[in-house]
Amino acid sequence: MKLKNVLASAMCGVLLLPAATMADVLEVTLHYAGPESGSAWKGVQQGVDEANLQGQFLGQNYQIKVVNPDEIDAIDDITVLLMATDEETMLHVARHERMSEVAVFNLTSGADALREACQPNLLSTMISDSMKHDALGQWQERNPDTPVSAQAWHEDFEKFAARQLNTRFSRSHGIPMDDQAWAGWAASKMVTDSIARTQNLDSSDMLTYLKTEIAFDGQKGDGMTFREDGQLRQIVLLINEANEIAAEAPLRGVSGGLDSLGQNNSCQ
């Protein structure tokens, strides 16, 4: 009983936090194009919910605005666009004149063509097909008789505080976090982390910050950075037939680190 009382008063206390008065709060809109259901959408929501918890202390308030990729001209102020559509639409939108100085995130497509395009404002948090291919190659070279599949994320992943992220996501959404959910969470988390630091909603500054300044804590190990072609460097998980994590690629001893996985398109 006593504990309940304490918890109840602590929850009331959230409303009384002295962090920021209304006038101080920075109102932020993240634009999103894609289905309002499914993993990527839930991942974006998770990232925004977490940012709003941080924002209670630091004075930011975030909301998601869903936009139609056919009506890009109608968008007024925009800081970033998160996309969970097919890859042709992503590339088309990223090349739209209106978006030339806006970071467009690919949350769902592994298509290597999106990376080979070297579109300077297109950033992929989803792993590419060639990253999966190389991860599988590293595994098969050492374990030719044991089949595995390659994934960006797994519900049983625990290292690097992945366990805590899995717990938060499944508590909120009732389903395990998967590749697209992680990619959606990661994009919204890195954007909101950046805004908390820079207090700047200018899209061009944000694009530069994401490509040059950030070492993102994606709860997958070292600080994460983007390749020249817009692909987010990250480990790839190898999953066996029993749906268990067999290994993390790059496998130990492979040279090149994270850049041993996937293409490294030079975009000069």
Partner: protein, 318 residues
Amino acid sequence: MKLTHLLTSSMIMLSTAVWADPTHRLFASNERDNTVSVIDTRTGEVEATIDIGQRPRGIGLSPDQSTLYVAISDDNAIATVNVKTLEVGPRLVSGDEPEAFDVAPNGNIYLSNEDDATASVIDVVNNEIIAVIPVGIEPEGVAVSPDGSIAAVTSESSNMVHIIETEGHTVIANILVGARPRGLQFNSDGSLLYSTSEISNEVQIIDTSSYTIIKRVGLDSIENSRPMEIAVSPDDSIIYVTTGRGNSVAVMDATTLELLDNIPVGNRVWGMALSRDGSTLYTANGVSGTISVVDTQARKELKQIEVGAFPWGVTLDD
């Protein structure tokens, strides 16, 4: 006058009585085998292994050093052990998933509840949670200032150091620090608060009069460094920082944060305890399953002592 003298001398006697006979025991929480290893630091031998509860992590002593506290995360409790007899005592409440904690001068325990984005305050005498304070996501490191007036808590995923005033248990400041903040430690007069950030690989100094970062330095020269816990030398001149997968202890100037030395220890080093006189440092090496004994004068590891599986933290009764 006489009464004052009498009081003073009796207080000295009292404090002597408390510390006259330390056990010289080092306690290590072994996260993966649910035990606490007890090392006699005079012999360097493990003298006992105590079954403590599920997933022991945070570890510390009561102000009079008579009771050992161990956060047993998966049992949602604080285990207690009599430091002299090594008998396991009654458990204390903790809220969900207690991880790290610090003991205030008045005996209250301030702890982080990892999965609930809260810090809890435990009244040890009444075995009662007296406050639950909302903080950022994945709260981790906790430190109470030497005078007990403020407590600091890091939130790993929200990248903040929260300052809580202990009288009303309200958050009075939130400091945005480098990615994945971990450990915290005050200097001896509480004017400075040191913090580490694992992913941005930084050590920061926070001024506790303005609650602003006055110095931040990266540990890029240490391969695979992921700064974790901090210990401050008794004269406040040096800080020691465990570097996680860097498998070392960084020795830094406490004012300039200049890296003075880097002492190799065991693998994935997290927790740390410094002897009262500052001469010996003990580190918990998770992957190695050992405790390193480090001579701080020579800045050299003297030996490693095998303990249980994945030692997380250490505390010393000296």
